[in-house]
Assembly symmetry: C5
Homo-oligomer: 359 residues x 5
Amino acid sequence: MARRRYKHSEKKVGASPGTLVYVGQEIDYKTTIRRIDYNEADYTIETVKKLALCTRPSEASPLVSWLDVDGIHEPQVVERIGQQYQLHPLLLEDVMNSQQKPKVEEYDGSYLFVTLKMLYFTKSGQELEHEHLSFVLGKNYLISFQEERKADLFQPILDRIQASAGKTRRNGSDYLLYALLDLVVDHYFVVLDSIGEKLEILENSIIEQVASQQTLTRLYTLKRELTLMRKLVWPVREIVNRILLEESDLIRPATIPFLRDLYDHVVQVLDSIDSYRELATGLLDVYLSTLSNRMNAVMKTLTIFSAIFMPLTFIVGVYGMNFDNMPELHTRNGYYVVLLIMVVLTVLMIIYFRRRKWF
Amino acid sequence: MARRRYKHSEKKVGASPGTLVYVGQEIDYKTTIRRIDYNEADYTIETVKKLALCTRPSEASPLVSWLDVDGIHEPQVVERIGQQYQLHPLLLEDVMNSQQKPKVEEYDGSYLFVTLKMLYFTKSGQELEHEHLSFVLGKNYLISFQEERKADLFQPILDRIQASAGKTRRNGSDYLLYALLDLVVDHYFVVLDSIGEKLEILENSIIEQVASQQTLTRLYTLKRELTLMRKLVWPVREIVNRILLEESDLIRPATIPFLRDLYDHVVQVLDSIDSYRELATGLLDVYLSTLSNRMNAVMKTLTIFSAIFMPLTFIVGVYGMNFDNMPELHTRNGYYVVLLIMVVLTVLMIIYFRRRKWF
Amino acid sequence: MARRRYKHSEKKVGASPGTLVYVGQEIDYKTTIRRIDYNEADYTIETVKKLALCTRPSEASPLVSWLDVDGIHEPQVVERIGQQYQLHPLLLEDVMNSQQKPKVEEYDGSYLFVTLKMLYFTKSGQELEHEHLSFVLGKNYLISFQEERKADLFQPILDRIQASAGKTRRNGSDYLLYALLDLVVDHYFVVLDSIGEKLEILENSIIEQVASQQTLTRLYTLKRELTLMRKLVWPVREIVNRILLEESDLIRPATIPFLRDLYDHVVQVLDSIDSYRELATGLLDVYLSTLSNRMNAVMKTLTIFSAIFMPLTFIVGVYGMNFDNMPELHTRNGYYVVLLIMVVLTVLMIIYFRRRKWF
Amino acid sequence: MARRRYKHSEKKVGASPGTLVYVGQEIDYKTTIRRIDYNEADYTIETVKKLALCTRPSEASPLVSWLDVDGIHEPQVVERIGQQYQLHPLLLEDVMNSQQKPKVEEYDGSYLFVTLKMLYFTKSGQELEHEHLSFVLGKNYLISFQEERKADLFQPILDRIQASAGKTRRNGSDYLLYALLDLVVDHYFVVLDSIGEKLEILENSIIEQVASQQTLTRLYTLKRELTLMRKLVWPVREIVNRILLEESDLIRPATIPFLRDLYDHVVQVLDSIDSYRELATGLLDVYLSTLSNRMNAVMKTLTIFSAIFMPLTFIVGVYGMNFDNMPELHTRNGYYVVLLIMVVLTVLMIIYFRRRKWF
Amino acid sequence: MARRRYKHSEKKVGASPGTLVYVGQEIDYKTTIRRIDYNEADYTIETVKKLALCTRPSEASPLVSWLDVDGIHEPQVVERIGQQYQLHPLLLEDVMNSQQKPKVEEYDGSYLFVTLKMLYFTKSGQELEHEHLSFVLGKNYLISFQEERKADLFQPILDRIQASAGKTRRNGSDYLLYALLDLVVDHYFVVLDSIGEKLEILENSIIEQVASQQTLTRLYTLKRELTLMRKLVWPVREIVNRILLEESDLIRPATIPFLRDLYDHVVQVLDSIDSYRELATGLLDVYLSTLSNRMNAVMKTLTIFSAIFMPLTFIVGVYGMNFDNMPELHTRNGYYVVLLIMVVLTVLMIIYFRRRKWF
């Protein structure tokens, strides 16, 4: 059961801060970059072939420019984009460090940096995976960085932009940021639903007493996943809250109610995580007491058998002795009397255990 | 044991925010809407047949207008009411989302939105159910939305309005909101009483040691219900507190003491929930140690039987051997001596176990 | 084991707020009211026969007027007093609701309302009971309401007033309130001492390993009582703190140090409650591990018996077989050799178990 | 195992506040009072024989005057000192109440009252005792009250005063207070070290699996002592913090860094207490699982014996039957065949249990 | 298993505060001191032979002066440096007290004192060790004190200074402090990774059910190390936060983003510690329930054997009795009938236990 743990690469110890190193899994394809420019009237979508074309739009540009960077493992790509958009080196380091905790930071009021995790279950549904996402929000542009190519992750937003001049097209880059964050939080609910279903299966097997050691291992894994999820979602609440409170110029007032709605959703995710954790703990208690109960039942069975057959075996042993002088052996009905005594004894034993409610 | 869980419908992932989708159980009847207009002098109650008649009363109207909407599953109905009362689309989304956490929100000081959960046990008394309620409070109107037709839910208030020109009739829409919230909180107490009774039954069966595995399952279910209840009532405390603190123009000063009283009640509900949770945890400990105690008793019984009969069986086995040269077999009283030895041994064993307080 | 639980009467659901209903145990005697007027120079104590005589003293009166109302189950009495002293209806509701949480409230700076619980053990010392007390403090008057006639509850204060022109007589109604609250808190210490003694008895029986299932039930009951006590005393801390912080005109500066002292005492009560709870939890752990230890001892006894006698019984069984051709049976010393072998085997077993420190 | 518990004497219930009653253990010797006057140039130490000589030094006095009162059980002594130094009656009550929680209080900026506990193990090292200490700090005087004569408690400070015109002599009464408090906190470390050593012994005996029921009782006692210690040291942190924050005129700026250092030490004590508590809890878990492990081992032994000898005993029983027609009995090698079968069966059993890793 | 505990040397009790005593392990080599002066243009590194040369650089000096003191056990060395740099005596005491909790303190805005712990595993990887580090930051100088010679601890920074006129050389002493703190925090990650690996090994052995008592001891040791680590890292978070908040003149604005980054890392360390602790607790639960499960399996085996063989042994015992009159013994097929009966009985038993899912 191999798991990807939070690993802070050793080779980085002592490296000069701001050195760009990709910390995470090795990936073998090239970064792909798409640029989407749109306003209410029109939109263009193109795949960027040359990094030199990733330029910051002029402040006067009436279009919202979305640069969608897919892949964060090539330092030179990230660095080049950073230069052309004039981003702080530590920000770029955070973009590439897939172990970076979710956070928000505003740089001189000129751009806002948000990084958080996308969560999903692997295809097999066995492992909870997370993917590092970063967003840079400027006046009329947004850059999104994602760790791995998940062709369909931002697709719903692209579809909406292409579909019609709807809310997304009518609003600015801040609304686009909101829409993308909302998408990420919606995926948290999908993960939660999946965990909820697994928990329900475990609950049923425990309450119907068909649980095994494996059930417990699964329960433990679920608790682990909930702990991880909590750790990754908790700061998202703080991120949205800070965007709401800081009244940055980059966030238009019209976007505020949407962000407040997003905040509610994140809180709901956290609430559900906590409920599930409590549930899992309660289930463990039920399971352990089930074990105790079963042990009790087993022990009672053993004791009843022993208490009935030990005296009987002793009695027949007595009349198996070879003493010359054992008058009972030579009586006519001795054998039948002994059989009768043993039947009576057994009946008494059974009555006794019934009285003590042992079966 | 099927249970309704918090489920955030998957199909919503990626949908444009503000899209009205009913998230909850499918229901097959039409929304019914009642409109109650009253002041100290008079009142009218009518069932609204045409949505066009659900209009916001003019600010100058001397009547309090209460629109009681029963059913939140038809988007076009909710949307139409929203348009005619000029409500924010996200508010309407919250009205229809039966998974929405309880909360309060004020929109530009012109209306106040409150949503919370009504709690009740199913007829069978087995399952704790919750129903999504929303209120929109304006200067001289109140809209109430409820998830399912519970004919008797708001009936006591209607009765009071019809009965006499009492406190409800003499006061404004804010007092009506208070009266409805008070009703909801009163139902929390009913649920709590029911949980308290169940807990007492479990307590008795555990302390009198007639508890079974089923007792434990029930205890677990109770803890779960208390956890759910806490999750749903906790934000209500915050709601009432914020209404008290924010000094909205929509809340008249005369209503404040009543709201403070309501606040006290909610805190009392939360206190009782916490007490019950602690009680349940304590009961679990008692139950588990009861199991250990019982196991001890069973094991002692087994050990006593074994310790008495194993040596006896061995002795009679010795004299069951077929060696040619076993002088004891041929003595006159050998048999009786062996019987005596066994009686003495048994008595010694019994004394030994009595000394160790095994029985 | 019947217990009085927090029960919010169902019939109240939907009743108009401010309706006076006595919520608590039914009591069958009439309310008795005493009026004590005093200042440094003089005092009068009289039992009030007519409710009309319960009037608020004029602001100019140089006397402190204490109205001691014994019994809160007759709505008309409480209502009449409320009218004559011009008290808020919700306050009167709190006076009569014996389930009301302890709290303090100031009404327009003209009077202060305090309600809290008196705690005591029933005569049999088995059950922790609580009694609902309320105080209304005015400029020069104090009304005290108590749930049941406990002739001796406020007697020490009456004695002090009668005894001499001491501190109580020299000070105002605020000092009287302090003195009554101090009395209540002193009773908390009495209850705590009683719980402490019970805990010590349980501790001894657990540590000396003579504990039974009943010990556990008692431990559980104690924990329950501590939980209840904590719930009822915790808000008292808040009450005293708020009186101290709010700098009401009703509290003279000279009374402040006394209230601060009272605050210290309440905190000390809460500290002791928490210590006792921790102690009780620790004892439970010790008890459970004692059970495990005992089980281990029982199992070892069983295993030693089995391990010694099973092989022996097998050996004698072998020579009890009836094969024609068993040469050992016909040797001269076969019997003695077998006996010797069995002795050696037993000694080896005993050495083995001693080595493993089983006894 | 008699223990001194927090006991609030019952006879005090209803007594007028400010009544001086010694609450604590009965002690049979007289209070002794020493007066030490010093400044950088000189010092005098004298035992005060007449209470009339315990006078407050004039504000103009250039000497620091330390009144060291040993014994707090004689109300007339404490009262007289209180009168001559003009101390508040409630302060005197706190001085005499050995159950008083640690606290600090400033009276009108003219003197500061600090009370806390000295902790030490009894000579036998078995019981954690605490002693009630109080300090009254004035402009140029300090009064120290201690519960029992511990000749050596304040001796180090006296020695320093006598030794040379060092820091203590050069500084004011506030530094003297600091020095005394520092002494008390240093003793906390001594107690902690002692607890640490005991814990290490328990840890070793548990990890090396030689723990008995007694080990558990000791662990429980240690946890109790840590709980008590935490309760008594926690408010000391608050005391030092409040002295630091309140910027009283009684504390000179030069003393502030020393108090901050003292604060660090108290925090370190509290940290260690918490670490030890966690350690103790962890040890309990290890111990309990050790018990389970041992039980498992015992049960396996029993089961192996039973599983091997029960079938064997059955087989020899079969050939011990007395049927006329049992052909095997009369074959030549029947006996040896049966012996062989039994050996094979035993070997198979052993292989089976080895495979399941039972031994 | 000897461990170094937090030990506050007894001999210090009663010593005058500010007395320099080295509290920690005895070390037998001499302090070595290096002085590194650098700016963007140049750098010099020299080993200081005479203490007189450790002088504070003049405020006007354009170079950053780093004094790297290796060894804190010689009071006269620390005292001399303290004099020459005009440091507060209590600061020097903290430098030498290896038990000092991590903290930050600013002295009159002229220098900043930071002390914290370096963490590492011993070579054998068995024990978590910590080393006491202190830093004094002045306008253009930094003094670093380390407890033991770890030649390679600060080497990476020295290398960077020597390598090129990079960020370290271009920035001031505050950046140097940041770089050193960053190095310490990087080592926390190395320790965390090591703990994570150990935990993974334990997890595997527990989930694959090959855990022994030793596994538990290791789990306990890990939890202990995590507790220690948390205690030592927690205040570091506070240190960095306070440096960020206090806006000292000693910290240049350009260094702020780097410190914020450092803060993020410390928080990430603390998060991981908490996750690991939860994991360890979860593992313990799994382990304990594994034990219960195994016990259940063992008991079932025993009970099945007993339930099958006890009745059989009884039956053969019956026909081993020596009664004269036992007709069955003399029938022709008696023996075979009994054998058949026993086979049937065994089959029934097996069916019964299979039904109850015992194997």
